[in-house]
Symmetry: C2
Subunit: 351 residues, 2 copies
């Protein structure tokens, strides 16, 4: 059994012009069609200060390889985000390399001599003016995003949907509440365009509710050494496989790839420990020519991106369609989805 | 709060020699260490009849690229599996190509002219002796794997763990029952080395309980056209991103990649519709030189593989460790995992 996120009648009303209601309803829209139909006012501009343009050495065929990263907004991971801007603006990121490509896990770039079991060279000196980072900042207090308020309106819906929660239909049940039951936390939810998880709901040890960003495909995290080291932001990685959610709350997430992911995910895998390139295959380390904060670029070169508001009607329909595919190819709607299988739509704004 | 799958005392007893019990316990083993320590009798040989060796054209540096596929055992997808052996033995797979590489989704290989929006050529004639396939076989009746028996022993454990089920600690709760609560079904579980999902548990419409294989990273599925077409097995794909579980029960799964996945996951993404290579980039279509059933190969060339029994003590410890990482790098154990983040260990047997 699947339960639509909003009633099927309402869905068809949204999907088809009113004039067509008497006729055979058109095929249900795909998630992509729902996103394409979203009104302009449901798209939210991303601040240029929150975008990094990372230019890799050209591909073997000479084609350009640019990767655009969106940095995590407050209140999450801001010490690492501040440092990442410092690394970019000081030029420290220029001429680093991609050093690790581990299949179904991560691509990592930075100083080839940092914490690299396959390299023994000198580490590159860090720039001044870095701020301290602290592993306690892997999570934030739920109050920082008004989590209780965010979820209050949903309590009735959650109660109504409680039965479906235990019948496996979790997404349809709690996306209504802008949240999903999750295998790694008591709740996962979307907030201002980002996938988050939270322990809200069983605070039986009197701990404050906490919220944290999660490791979905394309998220960008901060390499670190053993705790209490929390990483400076010099070493970054992105997820290129199934969501390694066990890293949540164990390492800082500082952003996500919003364009050019394929330039990283298709790199040759490293044969060394943890997927690092060995010294013998050092020529596979892709050079990173430059990393720039978009707001520092001249107008003509400054990319503009926007994300689909995760509070809007279109996102609700999109998330429901991801959890219950009704477009013509599909036979059986899943009746649910995990949060990393509902990627938040982000698109480049044409100049 | 995290709950170990088995008691921590039992875990340490297993992890450390008895003589060491009085001393400081050693660091908890990583999932990989638990697998490495598994006794030989917990490893199960894979029949050579169930292994395919797919040889791609050499890489640009001249290195060999072989991919080994394990076919799905009975009772799952056997009509497609039988056809895939027929395609391999008739030589039909020789000189096909990889035609589609869609980032965070699938790599697909077969006849470049089959159902390809980027190609308009003639389709290759199919070999004789193919069997009919039917979309009703995307799932099987739970009785076919004695599902009720499989789960009966677990009911007490499940009851004891019920509270943790609703506190987000799903994996630890129900891996004890050899099953996981799942976002896409009422239950997911491991059976004879494969990840499965099932609707067992709320059979309120009087339908028989059904069980089906699921789309985790590296699983191999059968391309098809619109329903009721269920695909012959000529067109195969593998998952190269986050588990696209919405495809479960909508398309046949016929196996999984057990070696050489990186040769497919690192291929350049296609720029055409659905990640197909366009005619302009047809030179990116990787040739597949041959596909052979391992049992047809001479002894010296026949690879041997085995998987870690999903019913054994080592797998239970491994799954628990995946859900609650305690090895030194980790600070906060997740307290749960989704089934596709607990890949079943498969290894090559040395000659």
């Amino acid at each position: 059994m699947t339960r639509p996120l909003i009633s099927l009648a309402a869905l068809l009303a949204l999907a088809a012009p009113a004039i067509a209601q008497e006729e055979t309803p058109p095929p249900a829209p795909s998630p992509g069609e729902i996103v394409a139909q979203a009104p302009a006012e449901e798209w939210v501009a991303i601040a240029p200060e929150d975008l990094l343009v990372m230019t890799l050495a050209p591909a073997e065929d000479g084609s350009e390889r640019k990767v655009v990263i969106q940095l995590m907004p407050a209140p999450f991971s801001q010490s690492w985000v501040q440092n990442i801007r410092t690394f970019a603006r000081s030029g420290w990121f220029d001429d680093i390399t991609v050093n690790r490509v581990q299949d179904n896990y991560v691509v990592q770039w930075g100083d080839p001599n940092y914490d690299n079991p396959e390299s023994s060279g000198e580490q590159k000196a860090l720039p001044p003016a870095l701020v301290e980072t602290d592993e306690r900042d892997y999570t934030v207090n739920g109050d920082a995003i008004s989590l209780s308020t965010l979820l209050a309106d949903s309590e009735r819906d959650l109660a109504l949907e409680a039965e479906s929660l235990v019948s496996g239909n979790k997404t349809a049940a709690v996306i209504i509440a802008n949240g999903l039951v999750d295998s790694y936390a008591q709740l996962s939810l979307f907030h201002e365009g980002w996938p988050l998880a939270s322990n809200v709901g069983s605070d039986d040890e009197g701990e404050p509710a906490s919220v944290w960003p999660i490791h979905c495909y394309g998220m960008v995290g901060v390499g670190r050494n053993m705790s209490p080291d929390a990483g400076t932001g010099a070493e970054l990685y992105t997820v290129i496989g199934h969501a390694p959610r066990h890293l949540d709350r164990n390492i800082a997430l500082a952003g996500r790839i919003v364009e050019g992911m394929e330039h990283l995910s298709s790199l040759p895998r490293g044969s060394g420990a943890l997927g690092f390139y060995t010294e013998e295959e050092a020529d596979k380390r892709t050079p990173i020519l430059s990393v720039r904060v978009a707001s520092d670029l001249p107008d003509g070169e400054r990319p503009r991106f926007e994300y689909l508001s995760t509070d809007g009607a279109s996102f609700a329909r999109y998330a429901d369609a991801r959890a219950n595919r009704r477009d013509p190819f599909f036979i059986v709607p899943a009746g649910g989805a995990d949060i990393c299988n509902i990627p938040v739509p982000v698109r480049r704004v044409a100049d």
